[in-house]
C-alpha cells in the first residue's frame, strides 16, 4: 500500500513536470505572439497544442553533432545535470493536502527547504559544464556569466527564504504550508499585520531572484542570443539542446512551486480547501489549486520575459549586491525584531 502511494505521488509529480514543461514551451511561443500582435503556432491540433510534440519529435530525429576536441563525458553530463537535479527538487514540494494519513509529498523531509535550495543551485553546474565542455568561447563566456550571476542572487534568495523559515519556525515545507493555511499566506505577512510589508517585499524579491536563478529574461545572461550566439548551449544539437531547453522550463516550474509553497500558501486557497478535511475530493481540489498557482506564476515569468529587455551585466551585479542584498538583510531583521518583540517568540 505504501509503495502504491509512493508510485502514485511520483506519477502525479512527473505528470505535472512532463505536461507543464512542453505546455510552457508552447505557452511561451503563444503568449509572446499574442503580446506582439501575432497568432503564434496554432495549426497542429486544437489551439496548436500538439506543436511541442512535433518539436520534440523533430529534435529527436536530428543528428547529434559532436564538435572536435570536446570533453565527451562532461559534454554529455551538462544537459543531464541541468534537468535531473531540478526533477529531484520536486520530491520535497507538498503539492496537496493529505489524503487520509498520506501526505501528498514524495519525500517528507524535515529539512525540505534546505534540500530545495541546494538542488536549485546544482542546476548551474549543468550550465557551467555544458559551456566549459563545448570548447567554445561563447559557451564558456555564457556559462561563466551564469555562474557569477547565480552566486550573486543566491545570497538574497537564501536570506529571503530564511525570512519564511523564521516566520514558520520550521524548515519543513509541510509545516510552512500548514501554518499558512491556518494563519494566512506569507505574502501577506502570515496573518500578522506587522509583517505585511515584509511579506510583500520578500515575495517580490524571491520572485526576482528566482528569475535570475532560472536565467530567465531580464536576467538571461547565460544565453544572450544577441551577443553570445546562444551562450552555454551554442554547440549543442538534437536532444542535448532539447534537454537544456526542457530543463529550463522544468526549473521554471520548480521555482514557481517553491514560490507557491513558501509565500502563496501552497495548496491552500480560502473557502476552497480545508486543512482539516482529508478526503480524496479535498485532496484532488488542493492539487488543482496548487497547479493553478504554479501555472499563474509561470505565466507571469513568460509575461515578464516578453515585456522587459535584458539587463546590462554590471546592472545585474549592482542590482544583486547593492540593492537586493541590503534589502533582504533589512527584511530578515524586521521579521526577527517583530518575531521577538511583538509575537514574543524566542523570548
Amino acid at each position: 500500500m505504501n509503495w502504491l502511494w509512493l508510485l502514485l505521488k511520483i506519477g502525479v509529480v512527473l505528470g505535472i513536470i512532463f505536461t507543464l514543461g512542453p505546455l510552457l514551451i508552447h505557452a511561451e511561443r503563444r503568449v509572446s505572439a499574442f503580446i506582439q500582435g501575432r497568432l503564434g503556432p496554432n495549426r497542429l491540433g486544437p489551439l496548436g497544442l500538439f506543436q511541442p510534440v512535433a518539436d520534440i519529435l523533430k529534435l529527436i530525429m536530428k543528428e547529434v553533432i559532436l564538435p572536435e576536441r570536446v570533453d565527451r563525458v562532461l559534454f554529455a553530463l551538462g544537459p543531464l545535470l541541468m534537468f535531473i537535479p531540478v526533477a529531484f527538487g520536486w520530491a520535497v514540494i507538498p503539492f496537496g493536502n493529505q489524503i487520509g494519513d498520506e501526505k501528498l509529498q514524495i519525500a517528507n523531509l524535515d529539512i525540505g527547504v534546505l534540500f530545495l535550495m541546494s538542488v536549485l543551485s546544482v542546476g548551474v553546474y549543468g550550465i557551467t559544464l555544458g559551456g566549459w565542455a563545448s570548447n567554445n568561447k561563447y559557451g564558456l563566456l555564457g556559462s561563466l556569466r551564469a555562474s557569477a550571476q547565480l552566486i550573486s542572487y543566491e545570497l538574497s534568495m537564501g536570506l529571503t527564504i530564511l525570512m519564511v523559515v523564521m516566520m514558520a519556525e520550521s524548515v519543513d515545507p509541510q509545516v510552512i504550508v500548514m501554518k499558512q493555511a491556518e494563519h494566512g499566506w506569507n505574502v501577506f505577512g502570515g496573518g500578522s499585520l506587522w509583517l505585511l510589508p515584509s511579506g510583500l517585499l520578500g515575495f517580490t524579491m524571491l520572485f526576482i531572484t528566482a528569475l535570475a536563478e532560472n536565467n530567465r529574461l531580464p536576467f538571461d545572461m547565460a544565453e544572450c542570443e544577441a551577443e553570445l550566439v546562444g551562450g552555454y548551449h551554442t554547440e549543442y544539437t538534437s536532444m542535448g539542446f532539447g534537454m537544456f531547453m526542457f530543463g529550463e522550463y522544468v526549473a521554471m516550474t520548480l521555482s514557481a512551486a517553491m514560490l507557491t509553497t513558501l509565500f502563496l500558501g501552497g495548496w491552500h486557497f480560502p473557502f476552497l480547501t480545508n486543512p482539516a478535511s482529508h478526503t480524496v475530493l479535498a485532496g484532488i481540489i488542493s492539487v488543482l489549486v496548487f497547479t493553478t498557482k504554479v501555472a499563474i506564476i509561470d505565466f507571469t515569468y513568460i509575461w515578464i520575459r516578453w515585456t522587459l529587455p535584458r539587463f546590462r551585466y554590471d546592472q545585474i551585479m549592482s542590482l544583486g549586491w547593492k540593492r537586493m542584498l541590503p534589502l533582504a538583510l533589512v527584511n530578515v531583521g524586521i521579521v526577527a525584531v517583530v518575531g521577538v518583540l511583538v509575537q514574543g517568540n524566542g523570548g
Partner: protein, 198 residues
C-alpha cells in the same frame, strides 16, 4: 514619475543621480512628503513601478486584434497597381489588342518577351498582329516596363502573385495562356482546386 513632477521647483538639482540613488531632500519639506519622496525614489531605484507599467501595457496588447493573416485560408489583398502575372488584353471584338510593334520586347530589361509577328491580312485597321507572344515568367523581373512601353495598352501586369509550378516549362506562357484572365489559366486553376481540397 515623481521625479519629473519635482524638477520645476528646483531645476538645478536632478531628483536622483544617474545610478538612481536618492539625493538628500531639502530639509524644508515636511516629514510626510519627505518619506513619500524617499519611498518613490526607492521604488524607482528598484525599477518596479516602470516594470509594472510595462507589464500592464503588454497585458493589454494580448487582447488586441492580431495582425496575422492566415494565408491559405485568407488571401492577401494587394493593391491594384501590384505587378503580378502578365495578361494580354482584348478589344471589343475579342481580338488581341497587340499590334506586334515590339516596344515591350525592346524595353524589357530581362529579355523575357519573345514576339513573332505576321501581316494582319484579315484586319484592315492594323498592319501587324503577333503570330506568337511568349513570356518566360522565370526570367521576368516584374518591373512593368512592358506595360509602360505599350502604345496600345495591350499588355498589363495583374495582381496575381501566387505562382506555383512543378517545372520550368509551365512558367513559359504562350499567347493563348496570356489572353486568358489569370484565374482561368490551367496552372493557376489547379492551384486553386488544390487549395479548396485542403
Amino acid at each position: 514619475m515623481q521625479a519629473a513632477e519635482e524638477t520645476p521647483h528646483e531645476p538645478a538639482l536632478p531628483a536622483h543621480d544617474p545610478h538612481g540613488h536618492a539625493l538628500q531632500s531639502k530639509p524644508t519639506l515636511p516629514l510626510a512628503l519627505r518619506v513619500r519622496k524617499m519611498f518613490h525614489q526607492a521604488m524607482i531605484a528598484l525599477y518596479l513601478p516602470s516594470i509594472f507599467r510595462g507589464m500592464a501595457r503588454t497585458f493589454g496588447f494580448m487582447f488586441r486584434p492580431k495582425e496575422t493573416l492566415q494565408y491559405p485560408e485568407e488571401e492577401h489583398r494587394v493593391t491594384a497597381r501590384y505587378r503580378g502575372e502578365h495578361r494580354l488584353k482584348k478589344d471589343e471584338q475579342g481580338r488581341p489588342k497587340c499590334v506586334a510593334c515590339f516596344m515591350c520586347q525592346t524595353s524589357c530589361p530581362a529579355e523575357c518577351i519573345t514576339i513573332v509577328a505576321r501581316d494582319a491580312t484579315e484586319w484592315p485597321d492594323r498592319d501587324k498582329v503577333p503570330l506568337s507572344f511568349d513570356i518566360d515568367l522565370l526570367k521576368c523581373i516584374y518591373c512593368g516596363m512592358c506595360e509602360e512601353a505599350c502604345p496600345c495598352d495591350a499588355i498589363e501586369l495583374t495582381t496575381l502573385f501566387t505562382q506555383v509550378a512543378t517545372s520550368r516549362e509551365q512558367k513559359k506562357y504562350d499567347m493563348q495562356t496570356l489572353l486568358m484572365s489569370p484565374s482561368e489559366r490551367p496552372q493557376v486553376k489547379s492551384l486553386a482546386v488544390h487549395r479548396r481540397a485542403k
